[in-house]
């Protein structure tokens, strides 16, 4: 399979909670177009919602880029959330459940990581934060890294 699937690639602003709705709708449509099953669509949309809300609430706004990725015959969706906010001083701590610097439940980052196949977090205090996640259609999730 080559190139692009219509309606997958996009850059969406994350400036208000209305934008969170567009992010969820786009990720849902893109995942469906790439052949994600219903549970995998739901997991990815939920992860995107958590990450977009982090971008808005903690990053002061930013954007999400959606890309179609291929690995052999597997179709994937990569979502990259960028902000120029204060950054995360202690990423390991930020990824642990229950930790929050805002008013949330502290599940956003760690929870989003569990809902996707690949997760990377790059943050520089004072410069901003980039979180990239990738999930694959019809491919079993990788063995989770369980520290405990």
């Amino acid at each position: 399979m080559s190139g692009t699937v219509a309606g997958v690639e996009a850059r969406l602003p994350i400036r208000s909670d209305l934008d969170l709705v567009w992010v969820r709708q786009h990720v849902r449509q893109a995942a469906a177009a790439l052949g994600f099953g219903l549970v995998d669509q739901t997991k990815l949309v939920t992860a995107a919602s958590e990450l977009a809300r982090n971008t808005l609430v903690y990053g002061g706004g930013g954007e999400m880029a959606a890309e179609h990725v291929c690995d052999g015959r597997a179709q994937g969706l990569r979502l990259t959330f960028r902000d120029q906010g204060p950054g995360i001083a202690d990423p390991e701590r930020a990824l642990s459940d229950g930790y929050t610097s805002g008013g949330g439940l502290g599940l956003g980052l760690g929870g989003a990581r569990r809902l996707v196949h690949e997760f990377s977090l790059d943050s520089t205090p004072g410069v901003g934060t980039t979180v990239a996640v990738t999930s694959w259609a019809a491919r079993p999730p990788r063995q989770r890294e369980e520290p405990r």
């Binding site: 909670d17 709705v21 997991k43 439940l105 760690g110």
Partner: protein, 135 residues
């Protein structure tokens, strides 16, 4: 019914009253502000109408993230303080699987498979009514 909840930050979700119970049907993609407004509307209507139960039908909701999950849990908690019980009805299987993986299993939230079962559950546990343990 309201079809464009996502388009307006101040949209209200319709809250219907059926006897002693408030029935709320959530549809589609809910705006954060709409969800928070709903929490206030339910609390006010419980007191105004002296209802004893709240049923929230989420069968039309495609995703519940930690924000909406928290709002549902807070609606249940504030309703309880106002002497009403809350049942969340009709959660989709994919939503349940995702919530658990997210880490939000909402242990304090009463659930039922559909609105009818939710109303039965409330009738069973109504003070003064026949008191049986829910299955």
């Amino acid at each position: 019914m309201n079809h464009d909840l996502s388009l307006s930050g101040t949209a209200h979700v319709p809250v219907l009253r059926l006897g002693d119970v408030l029935l709320i049907t959530l549809q589609g993609d809910l705006h954060d502000g709409t969800a928070e407004q709903l929490q206030q509307d339910i609390a006010e209507q419980i007191v105004r109408n002296r209802v004893t139960g709240v049923v929230i039908d989420i069968s039309g909701v495609e995703i519940v993230d930690s924000f909406l999950g928290r709002v549902l849990a807070e609606i249940a908690a504030s309703s309880r303080l106002l002497a009403a019980r809350t049942v969340v009805a009709g959660m989709r299987p994919a939503v349940a699987i995702t919530l658990v993986e997210l880490g939000l299993s909402l242990p304090g939230l009463r659930t039922a498979l559909n609105t009818e079962a939710a109303l039965e559950l409330l009738a069973m546990t109504t003070p003064g009514g026949p008191r049986r343990e829910p299955r």
